[in-house]
């Protein structure tokens, strides 16, 4: 259950901050790193707004597991809103 330091990328940090409300700061950051690598093959420091839909898609199974389908969609929607998407 590893983690990572702050990415230095504003988009990644906003997503991690939203996830950390549920998962805690350590796992919030780790989740962004893990799923950015899985979905995009790149680290969170490279995230652009165009990558966010793919990252959201990758985060979906994890969020569904922990907070259920309905709340997963709420969290993803909040992320999109915060990033102005």
């Amino acid at each position: 259950m590893g983690g990572a330091d702050t990415s230095g990328n504003a988009i990644a940090d906003r997503i991690a901050a939203r996830l950390s409300l549920y998962l805690g700061p350590h796992t919030g950051r780790a989740a962004v790193k893990t799923f950015a690598l899985k979905a995009l093959g790149r680290g969170p420091e490279t995230l652009t707004l165009g990558d966010v839909p793919a990252l959201q898609q990758a985060l979906r199974p994890m969020l569904r597991t922990f907070v259920g389908r309905a709340q997963c969609e709420v969290v993803l929607q909040q992320i999109a809103q915060e990033l102005g998407l």
Binding site: H26, T34, R64, F66, G68, A70, Q71, Q77
Partner: protein
């Protein structure tokens, strides 16, 4: 109810039980213990069901909470058969089969529920701890579990092997405890990984409940080892662990429900602000 409050409720419940049990004296102790036992199971079952129905049908955690709550509901049904007016409608042989079946199925339900909870992290796809750490934790979980349940499991299994079919529910219960106790380790691991987030609370309270169940079983083992099982103070001390375990699990369910429903509240606030 705030999550932090849910941490204190089990201690209040257990303390209340201890005070009432010690004040009741030997004559009324079985009644006080029975009330604590059933109230604890009811609170735990209610918490598990509250958590399960905060999720939607098909959600992973709904199944986990339903199986955990199902165990407690089945044990409550078994306890109903202890009431003379209900149990008396069966022949002694039928009653043994009915109660035994309920205990075995309840334990199976508990094992499935705890297994699903223990697997949640892996299912989520989040990065796992290094293999060495994972296996060390699993090994420690199995070792602690066998330390507590190994002896009763051997005793009950030998009774069963000697042809005593009445030992079936005890063997089922021992096996269920052995597996469920070993699975407290991955639940603890998940709780630790979620520290600082809202999901910490259900997982931490679940872990606390698991530890108290281990202490409950270990407590019975110690009283038998020291031949003090008939001492009311020993019984009260051990039963206090059950009171804590049940209310921690119930609190975990309520904390889980609060986290899931908070998402709805957040969405409503966002909609209102837009």
């Amino acid at each position: 109810m705030k999550p932090r409050t849910l941490v204190w409720v089990p201690f209040v419940f257990a303390a209340l039980f201890v005070v009432l049990a010690l004040a009741a004296g030997t004559g009324a102790l079985p009644t006080v213990v029975r009330v604590e036992n059933e109230t604890g199971k009811l609170l735990a079952a209610a918490g598990c069901l509250a958590a399960a129905y905060a999720f939607e049908s098909g959600d992973y955690m709904r199944r986990a909470w339903l199986y955990s709550g199902g165990c407690l509901l089945l044990l409550l049904v078994r306890d109903v058969t202890i009431i003379q007016a209900i149990g008396g409608t069966f022949t002694p042989g039928q009653l043994t089969v009915v109660q035994g079946t309920l205990v075995v199925v309840a334990n199976a339900s508990s094992v499935i529920g705890t297994w699903l909870l223990a697997r949640a992290w892996t299912v989520s796809g989040l990065e796992e701890a290094p293999a060495g750490t994972r296996w060390a934790l699993r090994g420690a979980g199995v070792a602690v579990s066998l330390l507590v349940t190994g002896w009763p499991l051997c005793v009950d299994a030998s009774k069963l092997l000697a042809g005593d079919l009445a030992a079936i529910p005890w063997v089922g219960s021992d096996l269920g405890d052995t597996i469920a106790f070993a699975l407290v380790a991955p639940v603890l691991q998940t709780a630790l990984a979620l520290r600082g987030g809202a999901l910490l609370w259900p997982w931490a309270l679940l872990t606390a409940g698991g530890f108290c169940w281990i202490l409950y079983d270990a407590g019975w083992g110690f009283t038998e080892l020291l031949h003090v099982e008939a001492d009311p103070r020993a019984r009260v001390a051990v039963e206090a662990m059950r009171a804590l375990a049940c209310t921690f699990v119930g609190g975990a369910g309520l904390a889980q429900r609060a986290v899931v429903l908070r998402g709805y509240a957040d969405a409503e606030r966002a909609k209102a602000a837009a």
